[in-house]
């Protein structure tokens, strides 16, 4: 059962150690698309093995997509292993009636399926429970499924960017590449947490600009704050401030309001 440390918000990151920004979103019974690797990492790093917490979000039910192997069918249940390319996980599907048994009968080894299931009880029985197993007919669904945890991860870690960029400072100062975020060589991301190669001063400016935009006075105002005001407040070159603002707009931290010179933080509570 979900413990009482909740407020009823499924996305409250009450368990994560750096939950300086806790966001309450949606309802408690979440169904979240994940990869087996994410589940394994969350399981192994958590002290409470009965609950699954991924990116600070308490996970209710899980959706996985992968290939079936080792299927074994019995009268009361069917067990199988799902291989989604990131890892393998054992599942059991209880068979209670004819509908269930016809659902499991069509599943064969080597088939791509989508599973909705629950992780509860994994600690004791070393396998998860599947509620629904559906064969994949359109293989674009496989691609879509893997994009979803990426997006979710981005969303859930975005709210921590304030504390992350602070940690970022110490990484840059120590000039060491953190093992947690180890993609300094890819040009793909311009996400703040991965810019461990960024010059220290640039990250400083970006953070300072974001801080100004996240001040209560800026957040309170409906149209946010004017670029010139940010420049004045920080006493930094206008060009650098505008660069920082453009960057934050690109990654989605801020947005323009009444015109191209007023900006407001998208991260404010």
């Amino acid at each position: 059962m979900y413990s009482s440390q909740y407020d009823g918000g499924a996305f409250v990151s009450s368990q994560s150690p750096d939950s300086s920004v806790a966001k309450t979103r949606g309802n408690r019974s979440t169904t979240i698309p994940l990869t087996v690797k994410q589940i394994t990492d969350a399981y192994e790093s958590s002290s409470q093995k009965s609950e699954l917490i991924v990116d600070g979000v308490d996970v209710g039910n899980i959706v996985l997509v992968g290939m079936v192997c080792n299927k074994a069918s019995r009268a009361t249940d069917a067990t199988f292993t799902l291989d989604d390319g990131t890892g393998r996980m054992d599942f059991i599907r209880w068979v209670n009636d004819a509908a269930d048994s016809s659902e499991t009968a069509i599943i064969e080894n080597g088939m791509y399926v989508s599973i909705v299931g629950s992780f509860k009880g994994f600690n004791e029985r070393k396998r998860a429970t599947a509620f629904a197993i559906r064969p994949i007919k359109d293989h674009n669904q496989i691609v879509l499924h893997f994009i979803q945890p990426i997006r979710m991860h981005l969303e859930n870690t975005k709210s921590k960017v304030g504390s992350l960029s602070q940690t970022q400072q110490s990484f840059v100062n120590e000039s060491s590449f953190s093992s947690g975020y180890k993609e300094p060589q890819t040009p793909v991301s311009n996400y703040a947490s991965v810019n461990s190669k960024a010059q220290g001063s640039e990250t400083d400016i970006y953070k300072l600009v974001l801080d100004v935009l996240q001040e209560p006075s800026s957040l309170a105002s409906e149209h946010g704050i004017h670029v010139d005001e940010v420049v004045q407040r920080l006493g930094l070159p206008a060009k650098k401030v505008k660069e920082a603002i453009d960057y934050h707009v690109d990654v989605g931290h801020i947005y323009s309001t009444i015109d191209d010179f007023h900006f407001k933080s998208a991260l404010g509570d």
């Binding site: 890892g87 293989h139 674009n140 893997f146 890819t186």
Partner: protein, 107 residues
């Protein structure tokens, strides 16, 4: 739960980074040449797939799971017919993300 031998999402460009490792990719079948299939990767490179290719029709998309044994070649273990309606741009984007910023979700 076992994450000891993950299969890396690759396209033509990324294949050469994972030589000798288990990879998965989707190619569009161009032609069959004896025991090998020549396919076009999602980033428009030609890859050769050796192994039990079953009978994926030409012009269909085929997912190949196997070991990368050359900069443009895979020794396939499993081939799956992905039909004729597959979005290569999305898959290509996924390969880049899964090997880049979000590698820790996959490998």
């Amino acid at each position: 739960m076992d994450t000891s031998s993950p299969t890396v999402f690759v396209n033509g460009e990324l294949l050469k980074l994972y030589m000798g490792r288990r990879v998965r990719t989707v190619v569009q079948v161009i032609r069959n040449e004896g025991g090998a299939v020549v396919g076009q990767s999602t980033d428009n490179q030609q890859l050769t797939v050796k192994g039990p290719n079953q009978s994926v029709p030409v012009m269909h998309f085929m997912e190949v799971i196997g070991v990368a044994d050359g900069p443009q070649s895979i020794r396939a273990e499993i081939c799956t017919d992905f039909g004729s309606n597959f979005d290569t741009a999305s898959y290509n984007g996924l390969c880049k993300l899964a090997n880049g910023q979000f590698k820790n979700l996959f490998l």
